[in-house]
Structure formats: C-alpha cells, structure tokens
Symmetry: C2
Subunit: 288 residues, 2 copies
C-alpha cells in the first residue's frame, strides 16, 4: 500500500502525517498562523517526504465538504483571522500536485476510528470531542454525515437551569448552547479556574456530565447511534465517563436503550489518522 498524506488542521496547530495507518505514521505538528505561512510549512513537510500521491485534510470549520460545490475544500465563515473563504484543498492540491480529500476534523476523526479504532464494523455512530469547542461527526448507514453542509453539533440547545448554574454561557452566537455551557473555556469562565486544575470532587464535574448527557441523549434520540465515541481535552478527566453514562441512562428513562459511550481508541491521533483514511479512500483500488 502506498503511503499517503494526512493533515488535521486545528485552530492552534496542524498535524501532518505520512503513512498508511497507525503502524507506520511519520508525524509532525505545525503551528496554525496565517494561511500563507501555515501552507508553506505544511508543503515543506510533504516535500521532504515525496513522493506523496494524495493527501486527506480534516479541517476546523465551518468548511465546504461537498465535492460537487465550486467552493469544495474551502474554509468558509470561520471567525479565525485570514482563513475566511480560504481554498485549503486547492492550495494543497496546486502546490503539491496531489489529489486531495477534504472533510471536517470530526468527520475525519470518525473515519479514523471507523477504519482502525473504536467504530470498526459499525454503520451508524458518533465521534464527539469536547475541548476548546464541542464538535461532532460520524456515520449514518456507513457514510460520513453530510447534508446542506456538515453537522455543527456543539450548538444544540439543552435545558439550562439558571438557579443551579447562573453562568450565562460562553458561545458568542448562542450564549448557552451546549458548547457555550460545557466546552473548556466555559468551565474556565464559570469556575474561574481551568478544568485541569479542578479537583475530582469539584461540583464542576457533575454539572459538566449533566450537560454532556443532555446533548448525548438528544443525539441518541435523533440518530440512534450504535456507539458514541467521546473524547477531547475535557474528557481527560476520566471520571466523566461513568458520570455521563449514568446520567444518559437516567435521562433516557428506559424509553430507548443507551449505546456504549467509549473513549477514542486512537486517542489524539484519531483526526490525523482519519485524514490518512480520507486520502486512502481516494484510491478506488483500496478498500474504504
């Protein structure tokens, strides 16, 4: 199997890799600055490792992931300075002369877990990440989730008891959507302290689990996933897993059976491995 390239483009760093899977990955992280500087560093990474026939990109967003669209592969309406309406896929394709596959960071991570990780053999599952933001991707009936554009799962509205939690929410668009209540910056703003420094017995974790469970219950009712992969920086706090599972079961109240809720098997390499899997998918002679 020929080695292909993968790029997991995030708000603070772009992880680049070359390989065919988890066993042979050459990997490096590049700081995300302006598109010009960033693309130059990414190109340098791959130039040093030629030949590269194809590259997959899993990108922060919003993006246009529709191959039929004239702006396929663009980062669209991001507030990130300089990146608005940037033709990410085009820049890589033209500078390196490669085929490019392109999707959201979370759909890429979902594909990585599907190919090599916690979602192997499943047709309908979700990959959720809770960190600087809250994002979700996944598959329905064996296909990565796409629609008018792509899911923006973090921005769903959930019950917010302002007596129990007077924090107004940190989302600049919606204030107390799920992301605004439960992402890492929301934890920091609510408690005046980053989640990492809060003790295990702090009330923050019960509340965090409650919000994540409300989001997960809504996704279970909407999609009926066979499994939910839940990761991201906030989930480094491992006690969240049993708390979230218990609250999900309580909220479902026996009406629907909860699917398994598990950490990503590929850890923080899910995204870049998913980008590799996107690139492998370009070659019709390789199985998806």
């Amino acid at each position: 199997m020929a080695r292909v390239g993968g790029i997991e483009a995030g708000g603070t760093k772009c992880v680049c890799a070359l390989g065919t899977g988890p066993g042979d990955l050459e990997i490096d992280a590049i700081p995300t600055s302006t598109p010009d500087v960033t693309i130059r560093s990414i190109v340098a990474f791959f130039k040093q490792r030629e030949p590269v026939r194809s590259i997959g990109i899993g990108s922060f967003g919003p993006v246009d992931p529709d191959p039929q669209s004239p702006t396929f592969g663009y980062i669209t309406s991001t507030p990130k300075k300089g990146w608005t309406n940037f033709d990410f896929a085009g820049a890589i394709r033209e500078t390196l002369g490669v085929q490019v596959a392109f999707d959201t960071d979370v759909n890429a991570a979902a594909l990585g877990e599907f190919r090599w990780g916690a979602a192997q053999g499943l047709g309908t599952f979700l990959y959720l990440t809770v960190g600087t933001g809250i994002g979700g991707g996944g598959m329905v009936n064996g296909r990565l989730m796409h629609g008018k554009t792509h899911p923006e799962m973090g921005h769903i509205r959930i019950p917010h008891d302002r007596v129990q939690d007077p924090f107004a929410g940190s989302c600049p668009y919606h204030r107390d959507c799920l992301e605004g209540l439960a992402c890492a910056p929301a934890i920091l703003a609510r408690w005046g302290q980053a989640g990492e420094s809060l003790p295990d017995n702090h009330a923050a974790w019960e509340l965090e689990a409650q919000y994540l469970a409300l989001g997960i219950v809504n996704w279970i009712c909407t999609l009926s996933p066979q499994r939910i992969i839940l990761g991201g920086g906030v989930l480094q706090r491992e006690k969240l897993y049993p708390l979230v599972r218990a609250k999900v079961a309580e909220l479902l109240a026996g009406y629907v059976e909860a699917p398994e809720i598990v950490p990503p098997m590929l850890g923080d390499r899910a995204g870049v491995l998913g980008a590799i899997a996107l690139a492998l998918g370009l070659d019709k002679s390789e199985p998806l």
Copy 2:
C-alpha cells in the same frame, strides 16, 4: 409497473393502499384494534384486490427495522395493548404470501416525500410530524435513517422556561421532552382546550412555535438537512409555519443557515405512499 401494497399503521387506524404511486391509489382505512382483528381486516383488503406481490409497512413503534435481525418487522416495546413484540411483517408475509418491506411510519413518509413529494432529489432531509406524538425520520446521504434501532426524535430535551410555561410536560417517560411540551395532547393539557379550538391570536401558538423551533434547531445542528418537511395535525394551523421559520432563524443567530421548512407535499398520504415506495423498493428491477 405492477401494483404493490402499502400499509401505514398508526395507533388509531391502519391505512391500506394498492397502487404504484399518487396517481392510481386504491385506499382504505381500518381501525387499529387488537393485532388479530386488525390483521384480519388488512388481509381482507388485499385479498379482495389480488394479485399483490409485495407490501410495504410503515408502522408506529418502537419497531425493529433491521432486516438482519431475528425480530425484523416486529413492533417491540410499544405501550399499546396487545402489540408488544408483535411480528407485524411476519403476520402479513405469511397470511398473504407476499414479500414485505418494513420501516417506521415517519421513515416511510420521508421515503414517500422523497419519491413523489417535497424531498425529490435531496440526499439529506427530515420529515417531522407533530400530532398525538412528535416523530421524525428522514435520509442522510440518500439512505433512510437507521442505527442501533431508529430515531425517536420527539424525545429530545430542549430548554423549558418554567416561569413562562409552568406546564410540567405530558411525556410519561420524560415529562418535558419536546413531545411532552409540544404534541397535541400537551397543548390540550396546558390550555384546557384542544389546539383546533384555540384562536389564531392565542398565546399557545407563539409558545408552540418556540418549542418546535428549538427542536428543529437541534436537528439542523446535528444533521445539516437540506430541507425540513414539517407536518402532522398540529401543523394544520398554518400560521405556525412563518412563526417557526422566524424563530429558527433567530435561534441559529446567523451561525448556520436554516434550510427551507415546508409542509409535506403529499399531505396525509405521505405515510401510505411511502409504504408503497418501500414495497416498490423490494423489486430490484424498479428504480428506488
């Protein structure tokens, strides 16, 4: 094209039809009583119209829609007396000696709208119905939504302002899930009057639109549908459409562009026509 059968099985009636599409439907409604009595009436409808090669069923649920499962075609954990763990598809298949296709009522309706109605040409869309309950089905990437079982969209949790609306909710499982706040029986219980008899300027409609918009926003963020088909008894109140559209746009706050929100083009025949489409799909020589 050979005529096929369709059954839309609901809690109060089963609509049976024979035909090939909207133009040639022979249709009749049978009261839903015990499975024995109901199946006997359904069988009589089709016996009088033989030959019938295949029948599609869109059923109230929960159901098992997985063709690989040993309980495929069963109604599973319904509270409806006598129907729990009833092999609906098997009863029709064996009594009439036909091939049977089986899915939820809302997925069937979604398929009907996809084939002949408001979802033609779309890959990712939702069909929602707001009546005795709230249900949703649809397609993602051109395939009907299935997973561990099937969506139970009405049971998502949304913000419920108990100062503005002290009504506790009517869902026996979750109290104030979306269905518990916004289905027809919730309107009746909250206002002491059925929706049909409330005037157009009653506060009920603003509140109803707010709850439906919160649900729809969550589905937009989760699935990014290209269009949302919104129907059911409660939507007979046509002023709800502009109200819901306005509130959806307000809640999305420009972060995501709202898809069109439209009534079913097939009206109350979407379900039974979808059941016909399910049956047509059994014949591999016919295009889906």
